[in-house]
Symmetry: C2
Subunit: 232 residues, 2 copies
DNA sequence: CCCTTTTCTTGATAATTGTCAAGCATGCAA
DNA sequence: TTGCATGCTTGACAATTATCAAGAAAAGGG
């Protein structure tokens, strides 16, 4: 793999603390690949041959069952994905596909497990990452089970506003169709849900959201750090 | 803590590989406690002071938001719970309460983090446990988002049958009210869903389930290891 | 640029799920 | 045993969500 990428990968929490020799060993076996949009990277059920690190672009993690499909998360740079399957040497639980043109580093899972066994610092970083992922899914689970779709959308809007810098107007960074899937509803219902937020001062024009009455929306959404704060 | 419990704790995957001195250090700070049924052990949002290990009884992990409540999982002996919060030194995301009379070991989180930092084998065991927990929630997420409540119940029935030994008749091990919550529905709908499985040869008498036509039920449920097999 | 394709929206309707109220069953305690 | 509390079930109804169909808007490709 071109050494140009070493520093940015090394800067990731996952790889920051490990021994230089181990990092070099991982990188030697790794390679970078560019993918066009809408390319299947991974299919659930397959053995986990590579740990993926997204350098640029974006990736959709989704799952299928019985002809239905749902998006579980969106991966944005720079972060790894499918770490749990790699470490446990188990089949992938989720499928992955590029959303945009994406640059991805592929590190052979075997190498990752090997270094994991000999580098305590790396092992601890893996723990930290896994714990974060785990807590993230638990939050998402609470979101799904405790809230109606309108409440989920309201809280998503507030989270996205924060991510976009906090201004009253900002852009969605999901295609609406996928946003609907992430939020556990149909595209038709997402359209209606956006209308349902109008009484709370939310207006939508294409991908542009404007919150006219922040306190009113928050009073309805009741955001909670134990569900909506994806940092903790 | 009474040394009587040492061997069974030591036998847990989480503690099996660590150095004896480290194990002893953890145990010195730990203590066992007996709780009656329906006792709140943990409230979401609190700092994670203790890693819990359930020795006997059972514990419900649940969450609340805006006056609503949902069960996320049931802990059965012998296993630890709330490991992620302990390791990340973050607030609990879930609340916990005893379902039955339960015996629980409490290990100060600070001690766990301390040993985690110096014992690589323990760190690896933590990874394995976390990865498993993580994958388990992902499966549950897929179950919720990809299936209707009737399909979730059908697959739950099949999973429980397997857990109970595989016979055509077996007992539920959840109170129905809580089963409903775990499956993401109301008790009323669970009642109706059980009736909805009658056409597939499932009969219910109290907590006793009988599957009269296994292939028919499986044809409807379409169980999938990437959702229903909680071992992998 | 136009044309095609896809996404988004809207309406009508159906299916699913939740709520409320009441009755039944079960288990526990006096 | 009786009485009480709790959980379970059922029915009627309401709310939510999904489905289908069609048109509008937007995006991508020659």
């Amino acid at each position: 793999m071109p050494e140009v990428h070493y520093p940015e990968i090394r800067a990731l929490n996952l790889f920051a603390g490990m021994q230089e020799a181990h990092f070099q060993a991982l990188m030697r076996g790794a390679y970078v690949q560019n993918f066009p949009p809408q390319i299947d990277l991974i299919s659930e059920g397959e053995p986990s041959d590579f740990l993926h690190v997204l350098i640029s672009g974006s990736v959709d993690l989704f799952a299928r069952w019985n002809g239905r499909e749902t998006s579980l998360a969106t991966v944005r740079p720079i972060s790894s994905f499918i770490l749990a399957a790699t470490i446990r040497n188990s089949p992938y639980l989720m499928s992955a596909r590029t959303l945009e043109k994406s640059r991805i580093i592929l590190i052979p899972s075997q190498d990752v497990r090997g270094i994991f066994d000999v580098d305590g610092e790396f092992a601890r970083a893996v723990v930290s990452e896994l714990a974060q992922c785990y807590r993230s899914v638990v939050k998402s689970q609470k979101d799904l089970k405790l809230r109606t779709s309108l409440e989920r959308l309201a809280n998503y809007v507030l989270r996205q506003q924060k991510r976009a810098g906090g201004a009253a107007s900002f852009d969605l960074d999901h295609e609406k169709r996928r946003l609907a899937s992430v939020l556990g509803m149909t595209p038709e219902n997402l359209s209606r849900a956006f209308k349902g937020l109008q009484p709370y001062g939310v207006t939508v024009e294409g991908a542009r959201i404007t919150i006219r009455d922040q306190p009113d929306l928050e009073r309805f959404a009741r955001p909670n750090p134990l569900i909506d704060d994806h940092a903790t």
